[in-house]
Symmetry: C2
Subunit: 496 residues, 2 copies
C-alpha cells in the first residue's frame, strides 16, 4: 500500500464514521424522543472525538509528504489538496481547546434558546463573550497555521479560497443599491396587492404536494427521504439524503418552498462524484456553493412564473380550490411568492432584502473577531445598522434583533456570508443554464427539470471539491462570480 | 484512576458506540431507502470492527486482574463478572476467524432469502455447510476458552449459566406431554369453533390501537417510539427504545399482539438499572429472560380473559363494530387469540405447540455442533421429527421445513432454546406476580398494568445482569425455573 492508498483507506474509515454520525444526527432531529437526548449527546460526543482523533492522526502528515513523490491522477491530486486543508484545519487546534469550545458552545446554545424566548440579553451576554473570546483564539490559531487573516481563517472553514477582501468587493454594490431597490419594489408592488389564499391547509395534503414537487425536481427517493423536524435541514449522506421540513397549517407556501430549497441541497449531495464518495474530494465545494443549489431551485427556478404556471393547478388540486378562484390564479400565486417587505428576521426575508441582513452580520462579526467591537456593544451596533439599512429600530428588541440567529451563540463566525454568495452564484448559474439551454424555462413550465438538473450535475455537482469556486464559476458561466446576474435578476423579476 | 474506573470508562465508550450502532441499525430496518444499503453496510462494518477492537483490548485483562485487589461494591463486582465473560467471549476468536465468519454468514443469509423463496435446498446447502463448519470451529474455541462443552459454549452467548443438560431436564416433560395435550386441546376447541372477525382492518386504526395498548402496558414514549419494519423487532437503547411492527390489512390481531410482545421486550430495556446504563451489568440477563418479558405481556397477560375483557370494547371502537356483533364479543375474541393448531411454521405457532418447534431445533442443532448430524442429512432429520412431534411431513417442503428460519443460515446456533426458556419463565413469573399481588388480574381487566409492571421492574428489569437466572427466579418466585407453572397454565387456559 503506497502513501496515497493509505490516505485513501484512512479517509474511507473517517467517511464511514461520518456516515454513522450523519444518520444519527438526523435521527436526533427528526425521530428521537426527548428522553433519549442525554444518552445521545454522550454517544455522539464519543463518536465525534473518535472522528476528530482520526483526522489529526500524525500519520496523515507523513502520507501527505510521501504523496508528493507519487504520480497521481488529477482527482487524486485534488483529493490530496482537500485532505491537506482539512488536516491543517483539524490539527491546528489542541484537544483541550476543542473540548473547552465544545462545552462553551453547548452551554451557550442552550442558554440562547431560553434567553431568546424571554428577550433577555443580559443572560446570553456572558455566554456570547466566552464563545466570541474562544472564536478569537480559534481564529488566531487558524490564521497562524494557514497563513491567513483572522477573519479569512474562519471563512475558510465554510468557503475555502474566499477572503474578506473579495467579500467586500462583492457586497459593496449590494449594500449601495439594495436599500433603494427595495423602496422601488415595495412601491411598485403596492399598486397590485396580493389576495390572501385562505388560512387552513391540511398537513397531509401539504406533504403529498411536497413529495410530488421533490419528484418533479429530480430528487431520487431510492437514495433519500422526507421527514419533519423543528428546524428544516438537509442531512444524511449522498447515498441516503435525509431532508426535513415543518408544516404550518396556516401557510402551505412556507413548507413547500422550504422543501424546494432543501431539495436543491439534497440533489447536490445526490450528484456528488459517484466514484469518489468515500473521499473528501467528493464533498460539496463550499457552503456558498451548497446554498447556490438550494437557492437556484427555490428562488431562481421555484419562484419563476414558469414554475408557478406548472404548479398552480397542483396547488389548487391539493387544497380543493377552483381554477376560477382569483386568489388561486397563477398571477396571484406568483405575487404571493415574490412579495418583498422590510422586516426584522433574516430567515423569513425575501431574496431582495436578504443580502442586507447578511451584510449587517458580516460587518459585525468581522469587528467581533478583530476586537474592534465588543459583545457588550453588539446590541447597539445591531440597532444602528438595522436603522441604517432597513429603517427599523431594534432598541430593546433583542429577540428579533441581535438574538434571532443561533450562529454566534453556536460559535459559527464566518458562515453568514455564504448565504449571499449562494444567492449570487444561483443567479449567475441559472442565467448561464438558460443561455446554454434556451429551452430551460419552457421545460420548467411543463414540470421537466431534467435538462436543468443535467446541466447542474455536470457543472456543479459532479465536480465535488476538485476545483475552486472561481474555476467552477468560470467553467460554468464564462466568468468568476459577480453581482451582475443577481442584480439583473432582481430588476427583471421585481420591476420588469 | 484505578483499574475499576479505567474499566468503567472503557465500557462507557463501548456503550456509546453501541448506542450509535443500535440507532443506525434500527434506521436500516425502519427508515433507510434501499439505495442507501451498500454504503450503510460498509459504514456499519467499520463501526463494528471498532467496537470489537475495543472489547478485545488487551488492557482489559490487566484491569480485570487488578480489580481483584480492589474493594468493590456488589454491583461493581457483578459488573466485573459480566465484563470478564464478555471479554473472554470476544477475545477467544481471532480477527481472521471473525472476518471469515462474517463474510460466510452474510453470503449465506443473502442466499437463504432467495433459496427459501424458491424452496431450493440445493443452493443453500453448501452455504449452510460452510456456516455450520465455522460454528463448529467457533464452538471448539469457545469451549476451550470457557471450559465448557461444545454446545454449552454456544448457548452461553445467549443464556449464560445454562447448560444443555439443564435444558434436557426442562424440555423432557414438554416433549412427553405436549403432543398429547395438543390433541386434547384441538378436540376441545373443535366443540366451539370461533367466528371470523372480517377481513379488512384499516392500518391507521391498527396503529392507533397499538399505540394506545402500548400506553396501557406502561411503555414510556418519552424514551422510545413505534414504527414499522418488514420484520418486527425491539431495538434502540434503554434511553430510547425503538420497536417496530408490521400491519396486515386482513388480520389486526397479528400486529396488535406483535406490538404487545415487543412492548414487553421494550419495557425490560426501559427498566434496566438507571445508574448503570453505561455498564454491561445493566444489560438484560439473558435472551430467555428477555423473551420472558415479551411472552409474559403477550401470552400470559395479553391473551388472558381479563385483558380481552378490557380490550374488546377498544377493538370494536377501533374498527367500528357493534357490541351486539357476536363475532366481536369478549368470548369470541378470546377464542381467536387462543386457538391452537398443528402447523409447520414456528413464528406463527401458538404457545402450546411452540415448545415442540423449539425442541426439534434444539435437538438438531446439538447434533450439528457435535458432528453427529451432517447438513446433508438435515432435511430428512427435520422431516422425521416433524412427523414424530406434529404428524406433519416436510418431505420436499424445505421452505416450510428446514429452511423456514434465518437462525442457522445466520450462524446462530444455541439461540432457539431461549424462546422456550422465556415461555417457561413467563409462566412462572406471572404466576408469582398473581400470588404476591392477588389484585393483578382485576387490575388488568381495568387496563391498569402499573402493579404488574412495578413487580417486574423490581424482580426482573432493575436487576440487570447482576444475578444468575436461577437466583432471579428463586428470588422472584420461590424456586428455580421448572415447567410446572407453564404446564399448569396450559391446562388451565385451554382445558379448564
Amino acid at each position: 500500500m503506497n502513501a496515497y492508498e493509505a490516505l485513501d483507506a484512512h479517509y474511507q474509515k473517517i467517511n464511514d464514521l461520518r456516515h454513522i454520525g450523519a444518520i444519527t444526527g438526523w435521527d436526533e432531529s427528526a425521530m428521537m424522543p426527548a428522553g433519549g437526548g442525554a444518552a445521545r449527546s454522550r454517544a455522539m460526543a464519543t463518536l465525534n472525538v473518535l472522528v476528530h482523533d482520526l483526522t489529526v492522526d500524525p500519520q496523515i502528515s507523513d502520507w501527505l509528504v510521501a504523496c508528493e513523490n507519487l504520480e497521481l491522477s488529477s482527482m487524486q491530486t485534488a483529493n490530496v489538496t482537500v485532505i491537506q486543508r482539512e488536516h491543517r484545519q483539524a490539527a491546528c487546534l489542541t484537544s483541550d481547546f476543542v473540548r473547552a469550545q465544545t462545552e462553551a458552545v453547548m452551554a451557550s446554545e442552550q442558554q440562547w434558546r431560553i434567553s431568546r424566548a424571554e428577550n433577555d440579553w443580559a443572560t446570553i451576554q456572558p455566554h456570547l463573550e466566552r464563545v466570541v473570546g474562544l472564536a478569537q483564539e480559534e481564529a488566531a490559531m487558524r490564521a497562524d497555521a494557514g497563513g491567513l487573516g483572522l477573519y479569512d481563517a474562519m471563512l475558510e472553514l465554510y468557503e475555502p479560497g474566499v477572503t474578506a477582501s473579495q467579500l467586500d468587493t462583492l457586497f459593496e454594490p449590494l449594500k449601495t443599491s439594495l436599500p433603494l431597490l427595495t423602496d422601488e419594489i415595495i412601491a411598485h408592488q403596492a399598486k397590485t396587492p396580493g389576495m390572501p389564499l385562505g388560512d387552513h391547509f391540511e398537513v397531509a395534503a401539504q406533504r403529498e404536494l411536497g413529495l410530488s414537487v421533490m419528484k418533479t425536481l429530480g430528487f431520487d427517493f431510492n437514495h433519500g427521504r422526507l421527514d419533519t423536524s423543528h428546524h428544516p435541514f438537509c442531512g444524511g449522506v449522498p447515498e441516503d439524503v435525509r431532508l426535513t421540513t415543518r408544516y404550518s397549517e396556516t401557510d402551505f407556501l412556507q413548507s413547500l418552498f422550504g422543501v424546494i430549497h432543501e431539495t436543491g441541497h439534497a440533489m447536490y449531495e445526490q450528484g456528488r462524484p459517484k466514484d469518489w464518495l468515500t473521499q473528501p474530494v467528493s464533498q460539496a465545494l463550499s457552503m456558498g456553493t451548497h446554498e447556490s443549489q438550494s437557492l437556484l431551485m427555490e428562488m431562481q427556478a421555484g419562484r419563476s412564473p414558469a414554475f408557478m404556471t406548472f404548479i398552480a393547478p397542483k396547488m389548487r388540486a391539493a387544497f380543493g380550490r377552483a381554477e376560477s378562484d382569483p386568489a388561486w390564479s397563477v398571477d396571484n400565486l406568483y405575487r404571493q411568492v415574490t412579495t418583498v417587505r422590510r422586516d426584522f428576521i433574516r430567515v423569513d426575508a425575501d431574496e431582495v432584502t436578504y443580502p442586507l441582513h447578511v451584510i449587517l452580520r458580516y460587518e459585525l462579526e468581522k469587528a467581533l473577531i478583530d476586537g474592534s467591537l465588543t459583545v457588550a456593544d453588539l446590541p447597539e451596533a445591531w440597532h444602528q445598522k438595522m436603522t441604517d439599512y432597513f429603517g427599523l429600530s431594534t432598541a430593546g428588541n433583542y429577540k428579533n434583533g441581535v438574538m434571532q440567529d443561533v450562529h454566534w451563540p453556536a460559535g459559527l463566525i464566518g458562515y453568514f456570508p455564504t448565504y449571499t454568495l449562494g444567492a449570487l452564484m444561483a443567479a449567475q448559474l441559472f442565467e448561464a443554464a438558460k443561455t446554454r439551454q434556451p429551452e430551460t424555462l419552457q421545460q420548467i413550465e411543463t414540470g421537466d427539470f431534467s435538462g436543468l438538473l443535467s446541466w447542474l450535475r455536470e457543472h456543479v455537482h459532479n465536480r465535488g471539491s476538485a476545483v475552486s469556486v472561481d474555476q467552477l464559476m468560470t467553467d460554468a458561466t464564462g466568468s468568476p462570480l459577480t453581482t451582475d446576474a443577481f442584480l439583473t435578476h432582481l430588476h427583471r423579476r421585481y420591476l420588469g
